[in-house]
């Protein structure tokens, strides 16, 4: 292999810097979470598990983590239940309205979450749903829909319609085709979309912020209010836990369905 030219060498050096830039803040948080000190100082005086013990004992973190996970799973499920039939209908439709409808279903991605949260708060309060898990679920489902619609549209468009026709002439009714052919074939898309929805929901502070109450706070909201008062490594510890949960979700999905099947059919 010939010696790389100067611009190429510079580009390789730049990539190393870029990866450092991306990874450093995340790595630093993981390291800080094992600090034995009450303050964030460098170099760290020693290593300990004390902040992990602290977050387990600090009730608001644990209850809000449970709320967050529950909310993420529930909103992704509800979002999928609503989105999958619509995506199946829109993917093969040639109606004039189909494009417009697809855009409506994708639109919530483009609306700033803080605006949506604010608008929904007053709307839901008028329906006397106000600060409740139901309100959170409604809001996060709106945000989940575009992710599922997008991946299912893409997956289903790649499925040749001959497969469903084959099933039909082999004697399958519409319900049987849906159950035995269509859904199994778009399943990777459904799961990929639902996983995007779960990950964004876990981190969607602007949307959750407005519905906060003692019983319905999500983890990011609790973390933010904690940070306004204290600046200690427990935030690092709970962040690391949240990251591990997200990573575990991804790995689980990989084990069960295979990451490569998420992109290929």
């Amino acid at each position: 292999m010939k010696r790389p030219s100067l611009p190429v060498a510079l580009l390789f050096g730049y990539m190393a810097l870029f990866l450092l830039f991306i990874m450093l803040p995340i790595a630093v948080v993981v390291v800080v979470s094992f600090s034995s000190s009450s303050y964030i100082v460098f170099p760290m005086p020693g290593l300990s598990w004390r902040w992990y013990r602290h977050i387990v004992e600090y009730r608001p973190f644990m209850t809000s983590l449970a709320t967050s996970i529950e909310l993420a799973l529930a909103s992704a499920t509800l979002g999928a239940l609503l989105s999958v039939p619509a995506a199946l209908a829109l993917a093969r439709s040639r109606h004039k309205l189909a494009g417009l409808l697809a855009n409506l279903l994708l639109a919530p991605i483009s609306v700033p979450a803080i605006v949506l949260g604010f608008a929904l708060l007053y709307f839901l309060s008028a329906l006397s749903l106000g600060l409740s898990f139901t309100s959170l679920l409604i809001a996060h489902t709106v945000a989940a829909i575009p992710y599922v619609v997008r991946t299912v549209l893409a997956t289903y468009r790649a499925v040749p319609s001959d497969l469903e026709e084959s099933a039909s002439i082999l004697g399958a009714s519409r319900g049987q085709i849906l159950l035995h052919v269509t859904l199994p074939l778009v399943r990777p898309g459904v799961f990929a979309g639902a996983m995007f929805a779960v990950l964004t929901s876990l981190d969607n502070l602007p949307l959750s912020y407005f519905f906060g109450s003692a019983t319905t706070n999500t983890l990011p909201v609790v973390m933010l209010s904690y940070m306004e008062n204290q600046f200690d490594p427990s935030i690092a510890a709970i962040s690391t836990v949240q990251m591990l949960i997200a990573l575990a979700t991804l790995l689980l999905l990989d084990r069960v369905y295979g990451i490569e099947r998420l992109t290929a059919v």
Partner: protein, 282 residues
């Protein structure tokens, strides 16, 4: 031969539940928000656009609008400068390392924004990692404050948003024929000239998509400003957040939200037109 009419399993009615859901919990609330931005108290005077006039004419709020635009523009530009070479590298040089780089670009999306912002505070603070290293190596004699500065906000924003720029540009670069570059180089153009005259113009679509995305996302961010800005940078989103948590001036917050919406809507339309030009279905 490709048949024009594919088999249709799903009936159009299958769209009804999700459309009803979004009409009730997405479209109507946003329309209600439009109405909410009118002053309730007729005594204030100034007509239905009172808050919008205030936003544009009051020096403080006009300043916030200006600052919002400035932050979004600078962030977008820096993300483009930082992200383009990465996307280019991934397509042309990464080879078997591509998977690793994709992972590194996507991995931050698995972590919360609070975590990443917190990480930057730890790095940039007076007693933080960066100062500790610089002191160790004798490059500085006194630690200095980097957090709670505008620069910290920009670093944080770029860190959070650059993956979107990289992925947008990368998607378009993947579609550009390497042979075009090669033939330009065979014709005697140097690598840099080839890049400038062939690759860059062809990747304009990806650049536009990435820029619109980052611009709109920056406008919607407030956590980074809140946690890294130390009150030095106030943007519209941050103001909505503060209005809500402190003064509770609902009508005004709604008006500011609608201005943000307008920007997002414009971005969305622009992006839609770009995709249409490329012949991509949504």
């Amino acid at each position: 031969m490709r048949r024009v009419r594919p088999y249709r399993l799903a009936r159009p009615s299958w769209c009804v539940p999700v459309i009803a859901y979004l009409l009730v919990f997405f479209v109507i609330p946003l329309i209600a928000n439009l109405l909410r931005s009118r002053p309730v108290d007729a005594a204030i005077g100034g007509g239905p656009f009172f808050y919008y006039v205030k936003l544009l004419t009051d020096p403080y709020y006009a300043g916030v609008l200006l600052e919002t635009t400035k932050v979004a523009l600078i962030t977008t530009f820096v993300c483009l400068l930082v992200g383009y070479p990465v996307a280019y590298f991934m397509v042309r040089f990464a080879g078997r390392w591509n998977a690793l780089i994709v992972f590194c670009v996507v991995a931050p999306l698995l972590t919360s924004i609070i975590m990443r912002t917190f990480g930057w505070r730890v790095l940039l603070a007076r007693r933080g990692v960066l100062n500790a290293w610089l002191l160790d190596w004798g490059l500085i004699t006194r630690p200095f404050e980097l957090a709670d500065q505008p620069i910290a906000v920009y670093i944080g924003l770029v860190h959070v948003l650059v993956p979107f720029m990289v992925l947008s540009i990368n998607a378009v670069l993947q579609g550009i024929d390497v042979q075009l570059e090669d033939s330009a180089r065979v014709l005697g153009a140097g690598r840099l000239r080839t890049f400038w005259h062939v690759t860059l113009p062809l990747s304009v679509d990806g650049i536009a998509t990435g820029c619109i995305l980052v611009f709109v996302l920056t406008n919607g961010s407030f956590l980074t400003m809140l946690l890294l800005g130390g009150g030095r940078i106030t943007t519209l989103s941050l103001l909505i957040y503060q209005q809500f948590s402190t003064t509770q001036d609902v009508g005004f917050a709604a008006a500011m939200g609608n201005v943000l919406m307008l920007v997002a809507l414009l971005g969305f339309l622009l992006q839609f037109r770009l995709l249409r030009r490329r012949g991509v279905k949504p």
